[in-house]
Symmetry: C2
């Protein structure tokens, strides 16, 4: 940020009176330009048939991590709820028709100023198709998940939580709600 | 937003190519200025003695809702996690020394572009004091909660969830994780 978005005067990085951290401040019109973390919201769309579960993943058609696999997810927009955002991103990236379930995971990625959230979701049919930001959309059984080609640590962590809960469900448990801090760089191959 | 924060050229509200909603766009340097929801994070600090539980509330010294009671909470900052934000706000607004527990509630307030989250928290001592944004900090038993003088619907909803879980705990339950959409205006007296 170089200029005030209200009056076009150059901004200065300074600690405003009564504050305790540097902000971009316009000394001309006195606007303080706060910068805050963003939410990335997605879903874990599943299809279960004859006791076998498959998870929908999208192959990214955009940077960062072009060509890597992700759960459908993206930046939450103004005027929508976290659930609205999960439904919209799943529709936009995978053309998928889902019934949204509970919030399943909340992952802090503080070093990139993001909080990622993923909802449980059930596919209503297998009539999906890649949107503009996806090269491909495919269903994966647990043993087929491309762990080495996942786009982000939050995708890996969410899928690990998901399959761990699935394993416990055979002993009578249900899906939990999971939180974790991600401190590895987003683009590390892992 | 009137001017580009990168080059000071006037921005235009338009739907960028490949997008489906209006954004502030700089036709000079081609920067798209996205605007996204913000997170407000806080805690429910409690003190339990002889089986009687009290909750800490702060009386707001700032607008909106000056003079009304709130759980300690505020805007999440860059470079911190949601838990970091809950601890920081509790320290800043109430000078309270807490042990943070699990995330307890996530409330969507879409019409003001906010998501509010509250963590469970246990006070380590009763050595608290109002910060710059609080007129007063007090402990309240359930029957003493000033329901008609609470600052925001998300505070009321979070406290309702909290005491409902407490009531169920007498029958052997634990604290859950709760989500809700708030569609009432933030400043309505309720």
């Amino acid at each position: 940020m170089k200029f005030c978005s209200e009056c076009a005067h150059p901004v200065e990085l300074m600690v405003p009176a009564g504050d305790n951290r540097p902000r971009y401040v316009c000394v001309h019109c006195e606007t303080i330009h706060y910068q805050n973390p963003k939410m990335v919201i997605g879903s874990i769309p599943v299809w279960e048939c004859d006791g076998e579960l498959q998870v929908l993943l999208c192959k990214r058609a955009i940077e960062p991590r072009y060509g890597y696999w992700t759960l459908p997810a993206g930046f939450m927009e103004n005027n929508e709820t976290t659930a609205d955002a999960a439904r919209r991103e799943t529709e936009e990236e995978a053309g998928a028709n889902i019934e949204l379930g509970d919030l399943f995971a909340l992952l802090n990625v503080a070093h990139v100023h993001q909080v990622h959230m993923f909802y449980l979701a059930t596919l209503r049919d297998l009539d999906f198709a890649p949107g503009e930001e996806s090269l491909d959309v495919q269903m994966f059984r647990e043993r087929e998940i491309p762990w080495d080609e996942l786009a982000f640590p939050t995708i890996r962590t969410t899928l690990e939580f998901f399959f761990a809960d699935r394993a416990r469900m055979r002993a009578g448990g249900g899906y939990g709600f999971h939180t974790q801090d991600i401190t590895r760089p987003m683009r590390v191959d892992s």
